[in-house]
Symmetry: C2
Subunit: 447 residues, 2 copies
């Protein structure tokens, strides 16, 4: 039996799959917050290049991957599909557990899959500079890497708590030539305003998005990039699932359940979406999106129009949300601390195609340590959520030989400080944040 199922460079998919036209009931369009009317590409083109906006709105099921993007993908793609035989043994389960190892990218996570095409389409349209935000730092590293390949300047607003806790992420971005600043910063109006009011704030993704957007709005040579949530990001991430389908076939297998952790939803939708056409044709397959119990947009949020950021500068997106001013507890999976969820994943949850699941952080770190001891690779705290869910599925009935596929979205080598806190007993679980939630949910925009 092959432990790793590998594809050659020339077996890499040459098209992304766009799930949007296959979503029963479709997607509701983003709305202009001023007019409450659907927002067209003209207004969005202030911050996104047309190439990406065309993908954002596209109803085509397949979209060609540009040759230049394929060339850079080859640095790490196709990524391996691995049978977690040692984990299976340790669990004593008859289930088969496969994982798609996106940790092999140069920046250590799936984020590079979208960073490269985003940098490419900006370059094609003459953009000289891109701003973005980053939570745990995975996306910031990915965009820094991608922009370095196309000679574009990159400025990253990094959530302050991560900026302080993850110095190695800063150094990585620096190595790729990016400029990094802690958010909230004194370099934007919104940043200065928040700093004046809350000088000790740890920051949040919602604040950092507002700063990066303000910066991009203010300069003609600059556009903005987002690492999750949007349709074009999920389109790019579909390469994960497209490869995994081929590889499962090579292994002579097919998943009964596909699992991914959910922050903005892109890595999960990336692995899951290419299997959805099979589901719609009647194939029995479950899709489980795993989120932290402390930031439970899918399991406790509301499906509604809401802003993507704190400063209310983004279009209104129709998504499961905890309210744009919800500040989640400081759990150590920074990439999952987002109040909303991608409209695509939200619609698939609404259609009961995707099952949401929530887990607590301590059980996730335990799962991560077991994975490290058995399969050798230390998962990122975000990825630990997917590992935990895979273990739950594999041990519900130890004699059920079901086939599990999960996305190993990234390794944790740069997040070891979080593991240290876990070992020293400093981490805790957080209960359902009822009070904060009641407050933020009351602030949802009225549509």
């Amino acid at each position: 039996m092959q432990k790793k199922i590998l594809l050659r460079d020339d077996e890499m998919p040459r098209q992304w799959y766009n799930v949007v036209p296959d979503i029963p009931g479709g997607l509701k369009p983003p709305l202009d917050p001023e007019t409450k009317q659907p927002m067209g590409p003209e207004k969005l083109s202030a911050v996104f290049p047309m190439g990406l906006l065309a993908q954002e709105m596209s109803q085509d099921r397949f979209i060609d991957i540009p040759e230049e993007v394929l060339e850079i993908y080859k640095i790490w793609r196709p990524s391996p599909l691995v049978r977690a035989t040692n984990l299976e043994k340790a669990l004593g389960t008859k289930a088969k557990i496969y994982f798609k190892n996106e940790g092999v990218s140069p920046v250590g996570s799936h984020k590079a899959n979208s960073a490269v095409p985003q940098a490419y389409y900006n370059m094609k349209e003459g953009v000289k500079r891109i701003t973005t935000e980053t939570g745990a730092g995975q996306w910031g590293c990915a965009l820094s890497f991608a922009t370095s390949k196309f000679g574009i300047d990159c400025k990253v607003y990094m959530v302050r708590v991560s900026y302080d806790q993850k110095p190695y992420r800063k150094s990585m971005m620096h190595t790729y030539g990016a400029e990094i600043v802690a958010s909230p910063s004194s370099e934007t109006n919104i940043g200065r305003k928040i700093l004046a009011e809350f000088p000790d704030t740890p920051g949040s993704l919602g604040i950092a998005i507002s700063e990066a957007l303000e910066d991009a709005f203010g300069r003609d040579d600059t556009k903005y990039a987002l690492g999750s949530v949007l349709n074009h990001v999920i389109l790019h991430q579909s390469i994960i699932g497209l490869e995994a389908k081929k590889q499962m076939e090579m292994a002579g297998d097919y998943p009964d359940v596909v699992i991914g952790c959910c922050g903005g939803g892109s890595n999960f939708a990336g692995i899951a979406s290419p299997f959805i056409p099979d589901y719609l044709e009647g194939r029995k397959i479950r899709f489980v999106g795993v989120e932290p119990a402390s930031c439970p947009s899918l399991t406790m949020g509301k499906l509604a129009y809401d802003f993507g950021d704190v400063a209310q500068t983004t279009p209104l997106l129709y998504m499961y949300t905890l309210g744009h001013d919800f500040i989640p507890p400081g759990i150590h999976a920074g990439g999952l601390r987002y109040h909303g969820m991608s409209p695509i994943v939200s619609a698939l949850v609404r259609e009961k195609i995707i099952e949401p699941m929530s887990v607590h952080q301590l059980e996730c770190f335990e799962a991560g340590v077991l994975f490290a001891k058995t399969e050798g690779i230390i998962p990122a705290p975000e990825t630990c959520h997917a590992v935990r869910a895979a273990i739950i599925e594999a041990t519900r009935d130890l004699n059920d030989p079901k086939t599990i596929l999960f996305n190993f979205s990234g390794h944790g080598l740069i997040d070891m400080a979080s593991y240290d806190k876990f070992y020293s007993g400093e981490l805790q679980n957080y209960e359902y944040p009822a009070e904060a939630l009641a407050k933020s949910m009351a602030n949802l925009p009225q549509i």
Copy 2:
């Protein structure tokens, strides 16, 4: 053209190659420091299992890799051979540059190749606990990972300066279940003695080896493991070159020059040795071992019998050495700060089969940053030495279409603090350490 040349699990070599019988003039045996006579396996068996001692002394050219070791190798092996097309373009060279990416192992370096069989043979002989030393932390992580696979306890003496500078390495070892202590420690006689005399010492590999050996000598259930230098370690690392030969053949290519960085010599000998039979049959191929100018055992040392450690507890090895009490400057490639060199590499330098080259640390970090910007992957400071040498070879004559193969021994994601120091201008080059060297060379044992 394939950028990555991949082998399937079932194409992995099933035997290691032992270069010892092919070395013209052979190896001189290790000597017992008391009697100055060749040291037999009986005495060494106090610290090494017989399975490894048999390999240490073996004159067989090929040795079977145990099935259990192959199974664990499959977690990351076969490793990719990659054509550094983007680096070639940036250099404007017609040379072809290939690198063997050993950074894909769970611990991020080639060290796992020997850690797994070392843990395996100890397990086979009922050993319950292994002690070792680690400099930069790569070997400590690898052995911690490997012992976790075989249910063996592991204690790592980590050179104090690394212990303080590389907290993530500690956390990784902890994750795999190992016990870690800063060396010199108060847990051994030699450690206490050195601490009493030099309470602020940064430590050294030579001291840490002495502590790990003392610990192993003191307990019946405990043996010792070394991550480089010895013949059996180089045997295990030969899998790098064996795979690379197959992969170069798949690419329709053959190297004109094979490059690796040299600390104890194992990663370099690992990639180079399987090509040596071709050289001996008349094939034109160069082997370049790259060491730091600040710790120049091959280029400035003496070929002589010397101890492997400061406390003079190891057998005497016939090797290029700077003297066992030479303390190299604090360069940021901790894995290359060793006073000696493996007897195998030493003999091949003596025979003028291997060419030594020395480089300074600033040019190495510059090379590492260029590599990161072009090929995406950030090299470990040690690996930067090999990258630098590959660039030197590729740019000697930009129109010479020579084929270069180098070993990418490990990634630098856990060494970003060193890059930070490079960026901030805190790092310097070190001149030939004439004074320290004169002193330590005067202390070579008289044979």
